[in-house]
């Protein structure tokens, strides 16, 4: 007997196959209550758990199936689930026993048998399971039916065509109208799984069925509610009223204790809002959405993280949600680091004129914490805040200078990187702080910050008295520098020369650098740029000056938001992995199918305009193309891009080289600036004044992408690791 104080830990010892076999045989005698065999089986299961191969015991173990003990039966079944596939030729010996159990009087046993069978997807089992599964789907006991529903999904995974031929998909569809809510929920889950397969049947809901499912919502378990709510995305409303009515019916589910129910409800509401017309209802929904989202932040840290990453998407699409709640995203000292980083991003998004002061005070506080990533992100956020909220720029610069004074290396580096962008955002306003920056030249040892500083020195060479000396020092290690820095040095040397053409130092310098770039460097980018500058200077230095020192378009943060079409699409994945990484699942999960809004008469015009066609298999939304300045300097280059199917590709990658080329000509700064359209910072009330350029423009415009604007700002963004050789 294994009572409350069971002491099974002792079974976790590596055992030998022969010993177990002998023990099992010995146990057959004088084993009235089967305790002996139970003990041996426990040892075997413990060994399976530890990862030791127990499959040679197959025939010995299955003999125990005849023992009338549920506990033993379950252990044998567990063994079968583990080794059934590898011992496919022996599995025929247990089929009769399975079939017998499928007819058992006890519904728990019937369900157990069918469930276990469906876990062993060998061709024989797939063949044999058809009949019992058909019966189970019509069993009088709801527990068996709900188990059987999931079995269909498993069978479909093993052999889709067989499952279709046997009519199981239709039977599942019938179960959608079952009287028992749990059965309905599982049938929905199974159909959704099948519908999500690329080779699966298409699973769509019409209004009648969707309403029937909604009726079952009240009686479902929390998990069942999630399956049902999730399936509502497969219903495409044809009339505004239908979408509105449905939203009203589910809105209260946001009050559920289970955070997955809350997030799934929000997903459906966001989806339905695309098909609505009633402005007031939409405002009401947005207003109702805020508090439950904030409440998610008092769940466990993992759920908080999921919530935060989703909030980041939601507030971009529906800026009125949580508009006044920036305070709840202030970091607690003991928040886990991933929560803090996610909060920081949201704080920046929610920052406006009205709250910039508070946000800045918080950021300054964070900048003195210990976690390096967090501090760096905080420092960058201060710079971004300066760029975003012009009224706060003075204060931000003051804080940045204070931070630089502390001489913490990584803080200084971050500060330099953002200050460069601040210079570009407010030309002629803050150049007075350049001397303070120059003092810290030696502290910069990372390519990005070094390149940023070099850009500053080159760009403002006319304001820095000893610019030629500084450049001379900087170029000393030219040949050992990473490409990113070399490119910056090259351009800065040219700028310096143009500013100070009569200085001998600058003349010698530019000559030296051009010579290196064209003769000693293998990198074609660098070499080409060297040649280009050289010729430019040789042919007409005046024109060269006009080109190299051309007025740069001002940096803005308007393009900071993801474009609307991509957002609409990502929000269909609210709560899922895709929403964590802010990537469509088909871009990082093999075999995943994409989702996109479906057009219907009720779809609002703005959404339709940016509709992403599903057929394109939308590998990457236009904004996800990363164009961070000249390619080789991209610090992310070590992460290979997500695998693209051969079918796609053509339009997307071609945009990148073009953008790089144009960027090359203009400037070496890794900065990009955004289009000037779009309202200031999302203080409008939603999609109506969300006058972002349509999606296609995003793809063509090399600057419509903030990832680039902030260099490797996204370095700490969570992302799936594609380079893993594991799989």
């Amino acid at each position: 007997m294994s009572g409350q104080g069971s002491q099974d830990a002792k079974f976790f010892q590596r055992g030998k196959i022969q010993e177990f076999r002998a023990e099992l045989q010995a146990a057959e005698s004088k084993d009235k209550k089967f305790t002996k065999r139970k003990t041996v089986l426990k040892k075997i299961v413990a060994n399976i758990t530890m990862g030791n191969d127990m499959s040679p015991l197959f025939s010995d173990v299955i003999q125990c199936l005849s023992i009338p003990s549920l506990e033993i039966k379950k252990m044998v079944y567990l063994f079968l689930v583990c080794y059934g596939r590898s011992k496919a030729d022996h599995i025929s010996r247990v089929i009769p026993s399975f079939l017998e159990d499928c007819e058992d009087r006890n519904p728990l046993v019937r369900a157990l048998a069918i469930r276990t069978m469906s876990y062993i997807p060998t061709s024989l089992v797939v063949e044999e399971i058809a009949d019992p599964l058909r019966h189970a789907l019509k069993d009088k006991d709801p527990y068996v039916r709900k188990t059987a529903a999931i079995c269909v999904a498993k069978l479909y995974t093993a052999d889709p065509r067989k499952a279709e031929r046997s009519g199981f998909v239709e039977m599942l569809r019938d179960l959608l109208l079952d009287t028992n809510a749990t059965v309905v929920a599982n049938a929905v889950a199974a159909l959704s799984e099948i519908g999500d397969r690329q080779d699966g049947v298409i699973f769509r809901l019409n209004l009648t069925v969707a309403n029937k499912l909604l009726a079952a919502l009240g009686e479902s378990s929390e998990w069942g509610q999630i399956y049902i709510l999730d399936s509502l995305l497969r219903y495409v409303p044809d009339r505004h009223e239908d979408a509105e009515l449905m939203a009203e019916r589910i809105i209260v589910q946001m009050q559920h204790a289970n955070s997955a129910v809350v997030l799934t409800t929000i997903k459906v509401l966001l989806y339905l809002m695309n098909y609505m017309e009633n402005r007031r209802l939409m405002d009401y929904i947005c207003k109702k959405m805020g508090p439950p989202l904030v409440t998610l932040l008092s769940s466990g840290p993992e759920v908080q993280y999921v919530a935060l990453r989703n909030i980041l998407l939601i507030i971009q699409r529906r800026p009125q949600v949580l508009k006044n709640d920036v305070k709840v995203f202030f970091c607690k000292y003991n928040d886990p680091i991933y929560v803090k980083l996610a909060k920081l991003e949201i704080m920046y998004r929610l920052a406006r004129d009205e709250n910039a002061r508070e946000v800045l005070a918080e950021l300054q506080e964070y900048a003195s914490e210990v976690d390096i990533d967090f501090v760096r992100k905080a420092v960058r956020s201060i710079g971004r805040l300066a760029i975003k909220v012009s009224t706060a720029a003075d204060d931000c610069i003051k804080v940045l200078l204070e931070l630089i004074e502390n001489k913490v290396t990584y803080v200084v580096q971050e500060a330099v990187i953002v200050i460069k962008d601040v210079f570009r955002r407010y030309p002629g306003k803050y150049e007075g702080i350049i001397p303070a920056l120059c003092e810290n030249l030696d502290a910069l040892d990372e390519p990005e910050s070094k390149a940023a500083m070099i850009w500053i020195v080159g760009q403002y060479a006319n304001r820095i008295d000893n610019a030629d000396e500084l450049m001379d020092d900087l170029t000393y290690t030219f040949l050992d520098e990473p490409t990113e820095v070399q490119l910056a040095l090259l351009t800065a040397a040219v700028k310096l020369f143009i500013y100070k053409a009569q200085s001998d130092t600058s003349k010698a310098l530019v000559h030296k650098v051009l010579k290196w770039a064209t003769e000693e460097i293998d990198n074609p980018d660098l070499r080409d740029r060297g040649f280009m500058y050289w010729r430019l200077l040789a042919i007409n230095p005046a024109v060269a000056g006009e080109i190299v020192l051309a007025e740069k378009p001002a940096i803005t943060t308007d393009a900071d938001r993801m474009d609307r079409g991509a957002l609409d699409q990502l929000l269909l994945h609210t709560g899922t992995l895709g929403s964590i990484y802010h990537k469509n699942p088909e871009t990082f999960i093999r075999g995943a199918t994409g989702k996109a809004l479906t057009d219907s008469p009720a779809l609002n015009a703005a959404s339709r305009q940016v509709l992403v066609p599903v057929s394109r298999n939308n590998m990457l939304p236009p904004t996800a193309i990363r164009i961070p300045g000249p390619g080789p300097r991209d610090p992310r280059k070590t992460v290979p891009p997500p695998p693209m199917p051969p079918s796609d590709g053509a339009p997307v990658p071609s945009a990148a080289p073009v953008a790089e080329a144009s960027d090359l000509l203009l400037d070496t700064s890794p900065s990009q600036e955004g289009g000037d359209d779009g309202d200031a910072d999302g203080d409008g009330d939603g999609d109506e004044d969300y006058s972002q350029a349509p999606a296609s423009a995003g793809g063509a415009d090399p600057y419509a992408n903030l990832d680039g604007a902030f260099g490797n700002y996204m370095a700490d963004e969570p992302r799936p690791q594609q380079s893993g050789p594991l799989f």
């Binding site: 294994s2 009338p68 506990e71 252990m75 709801p142 188990t147 599982n186 990484y581």
Partner: protein, 408 residues
């Protein structure tokens, strides 16, 4: 589809968790840490992350209710049962019935013979497990019908060095222990306004809740239409409701810190804790943690109540006060000696943190107005209500940055 498995503590290093989700190739790993154990879920799909984590939490709470505690020993001692449980609560990656009360009717720590396990009994269980009230058995009987309601509020405070409240909010949990026979129908009332729209402020003693979430058993549709909280409770202990309040928070303790640096070798601390509730109540188990710079060698503390001690390993002064009566005020004064180091390590200046408990007090002002129990047999039931406001690790007062690291 996903699988849950318990990885024994030795695998992952514990300090370096940068994200609870890792994706390698197409495979994603979700983990939740309990004690020294990691509960890991693995998927190859675009799984619902919230669902996965909720399920992990639920698994842990089920394990707790079965084994009392969740640690490596408990897992190893009950591994067969755990396999059984997982098989039951998760089918092909889809969480199924996870109500402990129902699970315990058919997955038990006692072994059951299939022969004498009556089919009728099983049918009853299956109906229960898939039914509309899957959380409650029908045959519960008690001699004395009682219901205990605990309103537990956790105060989160973040106060700036200047004494302005950066954020103050209350996470409330209403825990219920129901020992009621039959299938009781309960109605529950609070003094809340339940105006989530935040239109009209003030008005009587009504409390404004920003948001509330309910246990599975509460009929949300009824709440939506009539604002009544009605439900059939599970047997035993459960969390009926969770709420959040941010307006008119009564902070039970006020902490006034003053930290002054005397030269480079000394820091003086004066920390005063004031209670701001009626003198009939008292705060208990008060623990004030005052961080000290990393190069502190010793701290000399003077207190009139409680005990204060410098803990070098954590770089804090821990001041424990068993009880502070309402309206009282206690003060700690201390002097810390610093070594003069040339290279000061970066010090994050952690905030002062206070833990405490105040019985029969709610920071939000929430009170339970009624709990009515209706049952067919019309028995009398006794109800008990208890209030508790507490803080643990989330009541933080930042320290003025007088000893922020300066340029050298």
């Amino acid at each position: 589809a996903f699988f849950i498995f318990n990885q024994k503590g030795e695998v992952v290093s514990n300090s370096d968790v940068r994200s609870p989700i890792i994706t390698l190739g197409s495979t994603s790993f979700f983990h939740v840490r309990v004690n020294n154990l990691y509960v890991v879920a693995v998927t190859k799909c675009n799984a619902n992350a919230a669902l996965v984590f909720e399920f992990c939490y639920r698994f842990v709470s089920i394990a707790k209710s079965y084994f009392g505690k969740v640690d490596e020993e408990a897992i190893k001692n009950n591994f067969v049962l755990i396999y059984e449980l997982i098989d039951e609560i998760n089918d092909f990656g889809y969480p199924q019935n996870s109500e402990t009360d129902t699970l315990k009717t058919y997955i038990t720590t006692e072994s059951v013979m299939s022969s004498n396990f009556a089919a009728e009994e099983s049918s009853r269980i299956t109906v229960q497990a898939t039914g509309a009230t899957s959380w409650r058995r029908g045959d519960v009987k008690y001699k004395k019908n009682e219901a205990f309601v605990d309103v537990v509020e956790t105060v989160n405070l973040s106060m700036s060095a200047k004494g302005t409240v950066l954020r103050a909010d209350v996470d409330g949990h209403i825990m219920m222990r129901a020992y009621l026979s039959g299938t009781p129908e309960c109605k529950f009332g609070l003094n809340d306004k339940l105006v989530i729209d935040k239109k009209d402020q003030g008005g009587g003693d009504a409390v404004e809740l920003d948001d509330c979430r309910f246990h599975q058993c509460v009929r949300l549709n009824e709440f939506d239409s009539t604002r009544t909280i009605s439900f059939i409770p599970p047997d035993g202990e459960f969390e009926l409701m969770r709420y959040r309040a941010t307006s008119n928070i009564k902070l039970p303790l006020k902490v006034i810190p003053s930290v002054t640096e005397v030269g480079t070798t000394q820091v003086q601390y004066v920390v005063t804790v004031k209670t701001s509730f009626s003198n009939k109540l008292s705060a208990t188990n008060v623990v004030v943690r005052i961080p000290t710079p990393l190069n502190t060698t010793s701290v000399d503390c003077k207190v009139h109540s409680g005990k204060a001690k410098y803990v070098p390993a954590e770089n804090v002064v821990v001041w424990k006060i068993p009880r502070i009566q309402g309206g009282q005020e206690v003060t700690l004064s201390a002097t810390g000696a610093l070594t003069s180091t040339t290279n000061r390590q970066v010090w994050a200046r952690p905030p002062i943190d206070v833990d405490f408990q105040v019985l029969m007090f709610t920071a939000s002002g929430l009170i339970v107005r009624f709990l009515k129990v209706f049952e067919k047999s019309d028995y009398q039931s006794v109800k008990w209500v208890r209030y508790l406001t507490k803080a643990s690790g989330s009541y933080q007062i930042r320290v003025r940055g007088t000893y922020r690291h300066r340029s050298l």
